[in-house]
């Protein structure tokens, strides 16, 4: 791989100093004169119909400026579900924490006091929390037509994939293995709470949002409030994470805008941590069953997977499961059925369909390897994908190197025990690994490249930087293409009035999609300079290009990953410690190894948290969430986080900016499975349910 000048070198974030000195102004830091504070009254019941709401006492409280309920607001929050039907205020209420009223007042105290003065007459309805119980006859119907959630075509059917004939593959197999796994709903748990500040100047709406995509946010707000897009300005200069739950416009943006209109003053909406956990969304839960056919020599003949996933009270995303695509197998059939329950909504969280699906298939495959007395690494090398869906070649393929070189760097041969659970003493060590792949979503993006007479360049891109260092990445790409150092390039971001459209920081596509627009804009600018010469006086040269890469014909572009974990399990106390972790990633050329390493470390640590701790728990009798928040969810602390060693497998790839493939989401894909497989290797017992808590470890060992 040819070394480059700016790209490929460890570069601190261009805003690092502002962030760590507290000078970066996040959405929650913005204060405007006359600003009101908003609070949300939320459903105390998992399922209830509102007979009536009386807001008169709250409205009479001095300092209350606006109250919205279903009685005076029927605005649709179109990105609140895949069908575009969910309203800001719904009746019946379908989960504990669903919005009942929004109140704007002169300060937080008054807004909270007013909440208590709103009188709601609820007709409490029967509720259901579990996906299997939701499918039983006579289960409470959460939406008209039943609890099997309809897809975008409004058909109530599972999402399926099929190649070959699974029954035939089973018939051809020497041995057939069946197993089941479950995973739980857990929250994205990003650091920055949900907040939005909106104000109107005539017909122009400005929203300070906390968003992964200012353009998406602008588009969705304009659509839902029925105003022209240019009349909506969305600003997000610094954001404190979302991991997929700040992709589109959110109800808090709409609440802020509508309350601001009603109150004729700027309104700031703030959610508490608890609201963030119960009222936004987390990763969908799953119950998965596998049937795997294999020859005695370890060749896969068939994989079947059937699953139910927990959509929560509204279907806000695919609720699908991924993972089986990583295997070469002639007969593959999968069917995933999303189910409504009266629980928090489930939607996008870093590789939404993957870590739980990969936990299932990679645990099941691990069992097969042990049963055949094969090294799980060798089994994977034998059966890993070589063509996408066994058919389409990859633009570049680093999976084999992720496995081989990752294993070598990790010390697989020394750490993996051929006989699981064979360690002596109460503290047992074991090693496990798992693999995955991920293709970036496509999307249109624009970039503006500018140069002034002094030779100062600037790049305008519509990114907010949801934590990936996207601003710095865009600057590095521009600097490389311009042939100037990064400090000669000013990056302008985070404001729809000053930045062109960008697809939004989701689907791991900012580097590979918006990055293409930056390159194209810089190329145009260079052409202009070549034709017209550098600008003089106060003139600028400006180039703007929109790119919209099509799917590559005849090839599949994927990033590949293998994670290796070593754990210590105390069989007397059930305590699990991840003591060594190696992450091997093929994401093509790495633009900025410093921030890319942080991505991998963050993703792996999130994955370990998902593996060992995180789950939103409900009281079965009342349908109330019990452990919402950082304390209850047992989010990983620094002391829990192992050192994550990152190994780059930089394949040459002809596409993307300088051959970069995607990275953000692959970082969590195989982590959970690798930890589970390491626990198996340590104790000789398979953990089939997430999270793999101390209680569950002691249970399987009892």
């Amino acid at each position: 791989m040819t070394p480059l000048n700016s790209v490929g070198h460890r570069e601190p974030r261009i805003d690092a100093l502002l962030r760590v000195t507290g000078k970066a102004e996040y959405t929650g830091d913005v204060k405007l004169p006359g600003m009101l504070y908003a609070r949300l009254l939320r459903s105390p019941h998992p399922h209830a119909r509102i007979r009536s709401i009386d807001t008169s006492k709250a409205a009479a409280l001095p300092g209350v400026r606006a109250i919205l309920t279903k009685d005076n607001c029927d605005t649709v929050w179109s990105s609140g579900d895949t069908l575009g039907q969910r309203k800001l205020f719904n009746n019946p209420l379908r989960f504990t924490g669903e919005a009942v009223a929004a109140i704007a007042a002169v300060n937080r105290h008054v807004a909270e006091e007013a909440m208590a003065l709103i009188q709601v007459d609820y007709e409490v309805l029967p509720f259901v929390l579990d996906v299997d119980k939701a499918m039983e006859d006579g289960a409470p119907e959460i939406h008209p037509g039943g609890n099997l959630s309809p897809n975008n075509q409004r058909r109530r059917e599972p999402q399926t994939y099929k190649r070959g004939d699974a029954a035939k593959g089973v018939a051809e197999a020497d041995r057939v293995f069946e197993s089941s796994f479950t995973s739980s709903h857990h929250n994205n748990a990003q650091m920055e709470l949900r907040t939005s500040l909106a104000y109107w100047e005539g017909s122009k709406l400005t929203v300070y949002a906390s968003t992964q995509g200012i353009a998406n946010c602008q588009r969705d707000i304009a659509k839902d409030l029925n105003i022209a897009e240019p009349n909506v300005r969305v600003i997000c200069h610094y954001m404190g994470g979302g991991f997929g739950n700040k992709n589109q416009s959110h109800d808090f943006d709409l609440f802020a805008a509508l309350l601001a209109k009603e109150a004729k003053a700027p309104v700031k909406v703030e959610f508490t941590r608890k609201e963030d956990f119960v009222a936004v969304h987390g990763r969908w839960s799953s119950k998965q069953s596998y049937k795997i056919g294999v020859k005695n020599d370890g060749t896969l003949t068939s994989i079947q997977m059937t699953a139910r996933t927990g959509a929560g009270a509204y279907r806000k995303s695919s609720c699908d499961l991924s993972g089986t695509e990583i295997y070469q197998v002639p007969n593959l059939e999968t069917a995933t059925t999303p189910i409504y329950t009266n629980t928090a909504v489930a939607a996008n969280y870093r590789a939404p369909a993957y870590p739980q699906g990969v936990f299932g298939i990679e645990s099941a495959i691990d069992d097969v390897a042990y049963a055949l007395k094969m090294d799980p690494l060798e089994f994977r090398l034998k059966n890993m994908t070589r063509k996408f869906r066994d058919q389409t070649p990859y633009t570049s393929f680093g999976l084999e190197d992720c496995l081989r070189k990752g294993a070598e760097a990790f010390g697989w041969k020394q750490r993996w025990k051929p006989v699981a659970g064979s360690g002596t003493g109460p503290v047992k060590r074991g090693a496990g690994m798992a693999m995955g792949m991920f293709g970036s979503a496509l999307g249109r993006s624009s970039a503006v490249a500018k140069v002034d007479a002094k030779g100062n360049y600037s790049i305008h891109v519509g990114v907010t930087d949801c934590g990936t260092a996207a601003k710095t990445t865009m600057g590095l790409i521009a600097a490389e293409e311009l042939g100037v150092p990064l400090n000669k390039v000013t990056v302008v971001w985070g404001d729809t009035d000053t930045c062109p459209y960008s697809v939004g920081e989701s689907g791991s596509r900012t580097t590979v999609q918006t990055g293409e627009a930056v390159i194209a804009a810089v190329k145009d600018l260079k052409k202009m300079i070549a034709e017209k010469g550098m600008p003089t006086g106060t003139n600028d040269l400006v180039a703007m290009v929109t790119t919209n890469p099509a799917a590559i014909a005849g090839a599949s572009r994927q990033s590949f990953v293998a994670h290796f974990a070593e754990v210590e399990v105390n069989v007397e106390t059930g305590h699990i410690a991840v003591v060594k972790f190696t992450a091997a990633h093929d994401s093509g050329r790495i633009i900025n190894p410093l921030t890319a390493e942080s991505q991998v470390q963050g993703g792996a640590i999130q994955g370990i948290g998902m593996a060992l701790h995180e789950e939103l728990r409900y009281d079965p009798r009342s349908g109330q969430p019990l452990n919402a928040g950082y304390y209850g969810a047992r989010i990983m602390t620094h002391m829990d986080a192992p050192k994550v060693d990152v190994l780059w497998i930089e394949t040459e790839d002809a596409y993307g900016p300088f051959g970069a493939k995607t990275l953000g989401e692959p970082t969590i894909i195989p982590t959970v499975a690798a930890v589970g497989n390491a626990i198996y290797n340590a104790i000789g017992k398979r953990m089939r349910n997430l999270p793999m808590t101390r209680e569950r470890v002691l249970e399987v060992l009892a």
Binding site: K274, E572, H575, S622, N627
Partner: protein, 325 residues
């Protein structure tokens, strides 16, 4: 958050008088109290802030007892040279409370009087602790609840320093509006059968002013072992405070107090008796650990606490005695 009035009394007696108002609550470090007000678990009209009272945050020796002021921070207790040396179980327990930030503002009295962290209580269920007449854990989600001493409430006492102080045979000085009293740590904590809404014997209008540590016997070795659900910042899933008075390999006397298993720090005299006047061996420690869990009555989802607590008792006794497994 509900608005409240803040008052700054200049003496404990003045504070105690103010606390006779049933709508007043005492504020030490405030780290948990403010959270509870925000979560609408408590709604005081008045906070009686103790931080304006001088001299109640000190740690000082008087004769052969060590006096720890109620307002001494948890951090200062964990970091105090004499406590670390002579009352190791307390220093270790204090050092494992919550997070460094909370230990820096949280007080020893606040830690001892901390309300339960049962998720039903903290989520405003109308349980005994919230003035109701039910314990929702009995038929609900109960893996963190009591296996000893439960009924009618099955909370576990959340304090790390409480088992340590019971094991050290500490006494608490309590100041009321008219008079002071002293009570043994073991008598301060009360089972829910006494009053299921409360965890201790502090009456309304009383303030926990001081913790008094007796002179440790010669050759006393002690330790606190806490099992957390992650490496920091959870309450004890279970914990063990062990204080052994040794004479060479012989144990003259032992005090073993369990945390995270009962509504109060749970002393296990039968297990202590096994060690008394014996030369300690691994087999004896195992026997004591088994004995310590005799009579445990798990709920549907917390039977795992029995093997976990046994393992933790063994670990604590090994650490305190210096025996290796």
């Amino acid at each position: 958050m509900k608005s409240f009035r803040n008052i700054n009394p200049k003496s404990l007696t003045e504070a105690a008088r103010a606390l006779q108002d049933p709508k007043a609550m005492v504020a030490g470090g405030g780290s948990d109290l403010l959270g509870m007000i925000k979560e609408h678990i408590v709604a005081p009209d008045t906070l009686v802030n103790l931080r304006a009272i001088s001299g109640i945050d000190t740690i000082a020796r008087r004769g052969n007892t060590l006096h720890v002021g109620g307002l001494a921070t948890i951090d200062s207790v964990s970091d105090h040279a004499e406590i670390r040396q002579r009352y190791a179980v307390l220093a270790e327990a204090a050092g494992q409370v919550a997070t460094p930030q909370i230990r820096n503002v949280g007080t020893i009295a606040g830690n001892l009087m901390q309300r339960p962290w049962c998720w039903y209580f903290r989520n405003n269920f109308p349980c005994y602790k919230n003035g109701g007449t039910t314990c929702f854990s009995i038929t609900g989600e109960n893996e963190f609840h009591a296996i000893f001493g439960g009924g009618p409430s099955f909370i576990v006492h959340p304090s790390d320093t409480a088992p340590a102080l019971v094991a050290l045979n500490a006494r608490f000085r309590i100041v009321g509006p008219q008079r002071e009293r002293e009570v043994a740590a073991a008598d301060f904590f009360q089972l829910p059968t006494v009053n299921p809404a409360k965890e201790n014997a502090l009456a309304s209008g009383e303030v926990l002013a001081e913790v008094i540590l007796p002179e440790p016997k010669a050759n006393t070795r002690s330790t606190y072992v806490k099992v957390l659900d992650r490496e920091s910042w959870t309450h004890a899933v279970v914990s063990v405070a062990a204080v052994l008075e040794m004479n060479g390999a012989e144990c003259r006397s032992a005090r073993i107090v369990l945390g995270g298993v009962a509504p109060i720090p749970w002393r296990v005299p039968a297990a202590e008796a096994i060690l008394q006047s014996k030369s300690l061996t691994e087999a004896l420690l195992v026997q004591a650990a088994e004995k310590a869990l005799e009579g445990a009555r798990p709920l549907a989802k917390n039977a795992y606490k029995i093997p976990l607590t046994k393992a933790t008792v063994k670990q604590a006794l090994r650490a305190a005695s210096g025996l290796r497994a």
